[in-house]
């Protein structure tokens, strides 16, 4: 892995992303969903924090959408 890239786990899948960017900048690469919520390393990240949340190597991202439930 180069210094310009980080490796993250998004919904259980390994992804390589450009280093030094925020969650808001990476999101178009991570999902096409309109309605979703995010947790990083099992901590909820509110939408208001996307622009200042910088992803780092090894982050585990959970990106969830509405689903059927009982």
């Amino acid at each position: 892995m180069s210094a310009t890239e980080i490796s993250v786990l998004c919904n259980g899948e390994h992804k390589r992303l450009a280093a030094g960017r925020t969650l808001a900048e990476h999101l178009p690469q991570l999902t096409q969903a309109c309605d979703f919520a995010v947790a990083i390393n099992a901590v909820f990240v509110p939408k208001s924090a996307y622009a200042e949340t910088r992803l780092v190597d090894g982050d585990r991202i959970e990106l969830v959408i509405p689903m059927q439930g009982g």
């Binding site: 969903a33 990106l63 059927q68």
Partner: protein, 259 residues
């Protein structure tokens, strides 16, 4: 009309959104049930895993209040994070709190449940804990700030009805100020009627409707079962007796015989 937290509702039936043959049948079944509250979940977006825009669009066409769940969580920490994501995603502070302690019968973990409930109440959530009918666990959940409790009738998806009517009746008697909803394990409308006859405020079910041969017809049947049970509770049942008593007057019986 009745009050669930801050919401005034017509129906005492809460319904799940899962396991229907299609989003369209889900929509029709929810309408036929008369339910004003529908449970939903959140999951990773995976190919072929359901959910997605079709489901979400069908649900948004309905005039219902959403109750997101934390299904699949096995710890208080997972459940708290899931609830926080649900609050933002669905725009509601209501959360059906599930912390599973045993994968075989999906029995709630009472310790994780109380821990998560305390934290979520402190964060401003209206917590609907999916719990067992254990009185002490329920009292601890009330101590944690829950105003609503959702004890199981039987394990999720088993359709066995109320396995412990004594325990459920005890909860109703001991926690008269708490909103009690039987959640899970119901199979037929008579199970729902029985819960309402015991004085439970409502029932929540999913599989019994979604997996019926005709989900829309079964949704309607449950709607009537819930109404019948509530009316019976309000009417006040007669006490049980050990000995038979004739309902037809004895005085004036023809062909009266003396031994």
């Amino acid at each position: 009309m009745w009050q669930l937290a801050e919401q005034t509702l017509d129906s005492r039936l809460l319904i799940g959104s899962s396991l229907y043959p299609s989003p369209r049948i889900m929509q029709e079944a929810i309408r036929a049930s008369g339910a004003g509250v529908v449970t939903v979940a959140l999951r990773r977006q995976l190919p072929g895993a359901g959910g997605g825009e079709d489901f979400w669009a069908a649900l948004r066409e309905l005039d219902v209040r959403l109750l997101p769940n934390t299904a699949g969580c096995h710890s208080a920490r997972e459940a708290i994070t899931t609830a926080q994501m649900a609050r933002e995603l669905f725009g509601t502070r209501w959360i059906k709190l599930e912390v599973i302690g045993d994968d075989y019968n999906l029995q709630p973990d009472p310790f994780g449940l109380v821990e998560a409930a305390r934290e979520l109440v402190a964060q401003g959530f209206e917590v609907f804990p999916y719990c067992t009918e254990d009185l002490v666990v329920c009292e601890r959940l009330v101590d944690a700030g829950c105003r609503i409790l959702m004890p199981w009738g039987a394990p999720i998806g088993t359709a066995r009805g109320l396995l412990n009517p004594y325990g459920l009746r005890t909860l109703r008697e001991r926690l008269p100020e708490i909103t009690l909803i039987v959640d899970a394990g119901l199979g037929v409308p008579s199970h729902a009627a029985q819960a309402l006859e015991l004085g439970f405020d409502a029932v929540l079910l999913n599989t019994a409707i979604a997996q019926a041969h005709d989900p829309v017809a079964m949704a309607s049947a449950f709607r009537h079962g819930v109404c019948a049970g509530r009316l019976a509770f309000e009417a006040g049942r007669m006490p049980e007796r050990d000995l038979a008593q004739p309902s037809t007057p004895v005085v004036g019986t023809p062909f009266w015989h003396h031994k």
